[in-house]
Subunit: 395 residues, 2 copies
């Protein structure tokens, strides 16, 4: 029994109805090699070795057609109304169930825009077409992208509790790091101090350790998905962190800012204050634009307009992405209408989604300013899950 799998599979029947889909088919094999990213939500951590079909219907049936050796594992999940084992070929059992259910639509896991709804490989798509050849079902295949996006995006209570826990730990590790930072320390040393806390606490990294945390000290540090460098913290420079942990399979993703006062300074210089306040205001503008049914492109535009309106160049990435089992949890994003984001900025926001808000800008001569907060979409609008940073930390 995996409580997340129980919670998430219970959501499927109503989501199928809402999307007017009779049947959802997840078709996989040898998932130890990677597998479909939806599996942790509907099958847990166990592997499926031979060609396997996980079927959910709008009437609430849930079937697992699996290789004989994996029958017991599938049954022990407690999430399937029936587990059907096979020995040599899945074809006859799969066709028998489809003929019995006779669905008008069969939703399968591909998406041009959403990597997390795109778990069907092209080879397995071809295998499925071959299995269904000569049946009417080949003409009934549709994309499950909206269904998966909603299933993944609408966090259950347990999922939200786990994300809150990951965020709380992240804020603790930040607080401890801030107490110990000092001029002369390199980006690599600052990152190492935080990574040691992650390891000591037995946590995972929300994205690979090579750039988690990302650390940028001063104006010459390369900003982006880069590893920390040997550049040293200096007085009169900004210090920027992007850091996230994974705890009980759920992630946080938070950016924070420090300024190192020069001798004689009692507050940061005006350009630093302006840059920082602009980012805080951009986050607040995005926060205010969040409501169920809004499009991410509107939320993105609210933040982007604040940054550009203050005279800074446009940032070259989306204002926010979903957070969950993965730091980048797919589905709708809070992003601009750029080709590389596909349709994801136009998907309506849904209650239960968790997003980052992370505008950024460069303050020439001082360094990069980026903050990142994690928020929950509720019926009444956004709620902060992280404790927003609204003042520069001064050291």
């Amino acid at each position: 029994m995996n409580p997340i799998v129980i919670e998430k599979t219970r959501q499927t029947a109503s989501l199928l109805k809402e999307n007017n889909i009779d049947l959802w088919l997840t078709f996989v094999r040898e998932t130890s090699a990677g597998g479909d990213p939806i599996l942790p939500l509907i099958y847990g951590d166990s592997d499926l070795t031979w060609q396997s079909a996980l079927i959910f219907t709008c009437s609430g049936e849930s079937l697992a057609i699996v290789g004989r050796f994996e029958t017991e594992t599938a049954e022990n999940l407690g999430a399937f109304s029936r587990v059907i084992p096979y020995d040599e070929s899945i074809r006859s059992v799969l066709l028998a169930e489809l003929e019995r259910l006779n669905p008008a639509q069969i939703a399968i896991n591909y998406s041009e825009s959403d990597v997390l709804a795109d778990g069907l490989s092209h080879g397995m798509y071809l295998n499925l077409l071959a299995l269904l050849e000569g049946t009417p079902f080949t003409g009934r295949l549709i994309s499950a992208e909206h269904l998966i996006s909603s299933l993944r995006g609408r966090k259950s209570d347990l999922e939200i509790a786990r994300i809150r826990q990951a965020i709380a730990i992240t804020e603790e590790i930040y607080a401890k790091a801030f107490a110990n930072l000092s001029p002369g320390m390199s980006e690599i040393e600052a990152a190492g101090m935080m990574q040691a806390e992650v390891l000591k606490r037995g946590l995972g990294f929300a994205w690979p350790r090579a750039n988690n945390p990302a650390v940028n000290s001063g104006p010459d540090s390369p900003v982006g998905h880069n590893a920390p460098t040997g550049i040293r913290i200096e007085r009169g420079h900004l210090l920027h962190f992007d850091f996230g942990v994974r705890e009980s399979d759920y992630c946080s993703d938070i950016q924070r800012m420090v300024y190192f006062l020069k001798p004689g300074e009692s507050q940061p210089p005006a350009p630093v204050r302006k840059g920082f306040n602009t980012v805080v205001q951009a986050i607040q503008a995005a926060f205010n634009a969040v409501r169920p049914g809004a499009q991410g492109v509107e939320v993105d535009q609210a933040a982007r307009a604040v940054v550009m309106g203050a005279g800074y160049p446009e940032y070259k990435y989306a204002t926010g992405h979903q957070v969950g089992r993965l730091a980048h949890d797919g589905g709708a994003i809070l992003g601009p209408a750029w080709d590389r984001y596909g349709r994801t900025p136009f998907l309506p926001l849904e209650v239960g989604q968790v997003f980052t808000l992370e505008p950024g800008l460069m303050v020439p001569g001082y360094g990069y300013v980026g903050l990142e907060e994690d928020i929950l979409v509720t019926g009444g609008g956004a709620v902060f899950l992280s404790t927003p940073q609204t003042e520069l930390i001064l050291k």
Copy 2:
């Protein structure tokens, strides 16, 4: 610099020539969500976030077209002759390079049979078709499965050294466990003892911990991909283990057998001896059948014939699979001509491949007998990488 990536990307040009392919394109996005299983060999551990194209040509060019933020990471790999960053859309840069190179074939990562050559998702395939629309390249797309299968299968010297190291550690942990096993201990306790060694040594598990090691004590233990149970070791019963570790990204996969003598027994009963010797002989028959150019189905048949010839039922799985970065490393298998194995039993064996040999059978009243050795394909035939078990361990 990742020495494995350097070694493996250097193999690409000659493999492209051997397969008569002008250009190989790996097309991915948001690989933190899983990504293409070929990436660790040609790009290492770093993520590719936006749509990215890794291109290798038969003339030895290697190009990485990546999002601007990931330029430096791609350059630092030292494996690409050119890294080409983009900001909003990959389309124009990708088309410009394809037009310049004008390949007669573009091999892409899909395969109906080989999960590890099937890293292109169906949604990304549709995206690629859309990007190439109106060009002659849509008609030049072919499967890269043979190329990938050879690149992955033909282990380099460093890869073989790492697999040998994983095997050596596995044999050490087995030896320590055998010294400490005793009647009354449960399967769960026996597994826990071995897992504690894995964790103490900072190793990874070659497959998920839930059933690694798999442990089967006596005739009533469920055999397959099952978690160890509360069943206790008894005198007069067989004890079977299936165990593998991951060390420096490479795996082992080894099965071992113990028999617990009853009071008064100086050797196992005749049916146990016959079952054990049959499996040893089946492994030797498979070993003798391995040579470059042979088909896996021949090797499988050699082992299967020994087991069935001795009067045991046919085992319901393949005699062997490849081992490498993954415990099930894809490509050619040593398996029967069953539908679920697709074409993989018919692929000719190649020098440098590492396979398991793992026939098995049930001895009624005593328990399951399965041994698994790891072997390397060389020009002269098979070489054992594990130290074969040819005698039952008696306790």
